[in-house]
Symmetry: C2
Subunit: 387 residues, 2 copies
């Protein structure tokens, strides 16, 4: 078991109607709020109006239009400028993981005099940040319970995971009813995202019996409840459990004491969505089973056998290799069954830039130290198999 | 799924050698430290000397001699007095859960002008507390990751669970090597304590697939690793995993969104150890299977079936009642196999005060709203069955 240092100070306020507590929560942090959100779905579900009504008496500056795979330019830069101009006390992010990720980059950027990219690229260590509160409307990334965010810089095809302890949200409001209107496509992508977050921690060299059980429980619950959410989008219990599962995805609570796996699927997917701006969860679902096939070996076999038996209830009396292969097939089949396009070509990626992407990943993502080390050739093979 | 409001700000610093970070951690909170500890086992393992060496330059006031089932008088009262006299900045609790529990009562008591019992008995709400840091030397209670403590008042046979958000430890140091010298008796009691913490959350009306899996993983890991700790007390990996399991016991992370179970075994056991000062974990192990037998019914059957299949790998094709009864028998057998005396008489409790205790429990522990409601008659029956 590995040493670790863990702290998640975020307060989770979870359940139907909890947003009523917003004024009391925001008042702890000040009067001047930067309200960040995306393309307007929060207006369609009436949450935008509800928030403005609840926050009468606060000074609100808005940063709308934050895109999926949030962009450094203009979103982060605009947000930083607004925070400085209006002396913002607290950021309220309302939406999915992208809005929150972007808000995190803004939070530290606004307390720094130079170019915020210095912080995101770890050239300079941030010294302070503006407090962040969020209301999450999409079960997927787990950003509401972790200090990280992913920011894309279009001109350089960079998509960087930016993690700073300063950026734990202070309070996350999670009302599952806000996810009732999430489309089937985005619901499925959220399931795949959270499942992959779990797998990235499960497939590691040194794990514990405890964490293995936590991860397996996550995967089983995400599959059962995810399916229910797709069948009946207003199934409160299923939406609620899926939301809580997603919250745990990147918080490390599933793998304290495990050795680091290097998060290889994320490393590969970041390039896909940086080059082609595809949906992150779909990219992960496409990559995952191909990556699994690639890394299956005598050494990793026991992990796949455990995964197959405990997650997919594959008959433990079968041959070990058969269990492992079945487990990978079941992974693929599950993603396909929830409607995810399982080939890169289906999401608009052809073979024209595979070499370039494989090179970019090999240089930037550190996958030579992953659970199973991946060099440029291996990455290319996984990409080709995913076409 | 139930609404919830969750926040655990405690920082966990876990692993071999982490105590070297103590000076840096303590310096955040000030110079004047109240060092609390128990009967001297920390001197035997050299930890006391190590702490004093690391904290050269700090002003240290000592409160030794805190007993298991920590006492309001003298320990809490002495601690409060010392904090006030010496204007203590931070409490450093070194030892097991009792030392830490006692320190929590001291922490709020020291910031209150009246009788600290007003706070413990919830007559008055605490407004402030002294920060607490701990170094845990016993894997059992989970006090290092929760805001609660249990305090006994001998003259009234009160044993009160005192919970206040102010009392989350700021930092908990967990070095599994400090548990190498824990006796077989205390190791077994710690396993039973953490297992019961998990069961008190698992046996509830409304649970989630996710939490059920978390709890089942806890129970399996505690049994496997607990046994290894007993067989080889210096098995680092087993001690480490057992320590992490215990840390999660009372933190609510195993049951967010579940309905409240009422923690009935704890309600009963608190009276046993208040009247007879027995080892808490042993009391829980004795009560648990008798309580299970008492509450097994058509309504609770599915829970016991799930428990039996997923925790003890009982053949799922058997008759449901058979699975449930086997599961209860396996629970008893496990506790017995790790050397716990499984009858009240073996820990010095005869039938002379059962009526008095049953009455005390019925009046004070609120078990009429437990998962399966327990009145005085039911409590008495469980106690009699435990003799």
């Amino acid at each position: 078991m590995q040493n670790f240092d863990y702290q998640t100070p975020t307060r989770l306020i979870f359940g139907k109607g909890v947003v009523e507590q917003l004024p009391e929560v925001m008042a702890q942090f000040g009067k001047r709020i930067l309200l960040t959100y995306g393309g307007g779905s929060i207006k369609k579900i009436g949450l935008y109006q509800k928030v403005l009504e609840l926050l009468k008496g606060f000074e609100i500056v808005e940063l709308p239009g934050i895109q999926p795979n949030p962009k450094y330019d203009p979103s982060v830069l605009d947000g930083v400028r607004l925070c400085k101009e209006h002396k913002i006390d607290v950021i309220l992010a309302v939406g999915g993981g992208s809005v929150l990720d972007c808000s995190k980059a803004i939070a530290t950027g606004a307390c720094y005099d130079g170019d915020p990219w210095d912080l995101i690229s770890y050239k300079v260590k941030a010294q302070a940040s503006i407090p962040i509160v969020d209301i999450i409307t999409l079960a997927a990334t787990g950003s509401e319970f972790d200090p990280g965010g992913v920011i894309s810089r279009t001109e350089t095809n960079d998509k960087i995971g930016y993690v700073d302890k300063l950026n734990y949200p202070r309070v996350s409001f999670l009302d599952p009813t806000y996810t009732f209107t999430v489309s089937k496509k985005q619901t499925a992508a959220g399931i795949a995202d959270a499942m992959n977050h779990t797998m990235e921690q499960y497939f590691a060299e040194d794990t514990t019996l405890l964490n293995d059980g936590f991860c397996e429980s996550m995967l089983r619950s995400l599959m059962v409840n995810g399916r229910k959410c797709l069948e009946n989008p207003e199934d409160y219990t299923a939406r609620a459990e899926m939301m809580l599962c997603c919250t745990y995805g990147c918080n490390r609570i599933l793998s304290l004491g495990n050795s680091q796996s290097g998060w290889p699927c994320h490393g590969i997917e970041h390039a896909l969505s940086a080059y082609y701006d595809i949906t992150h969860g779909e990219g992960l679902a496409i990559i995952t089973p191909r990556w699994m096939k690639h890394i299956l070996s005598e050494r990793t076999l026991p992990r796949f056998v455990k995964y197959g038996i405990n997650v997919f209830s594959i008959d433990a009396s079968l041959d070990k290799w058969e269990i492992a292969r079945k487990a990978i097939d079941e992974t693929y089949a599950f993603f396909e069954s929830i409607g995810i396009p399982m080939h890169l070509r289906e999401v608009g990626i052809d073979d024209s830039r595979l070499d370039e992407m494989a090179h970019h990943i090999a240089v930037n993502e550190g996958l030579e130290s992953a659970y199973v080390p991946l060099d440029e050739k291996a990455i290319k093979e996984i990409l080709v198999a995913s076409l």
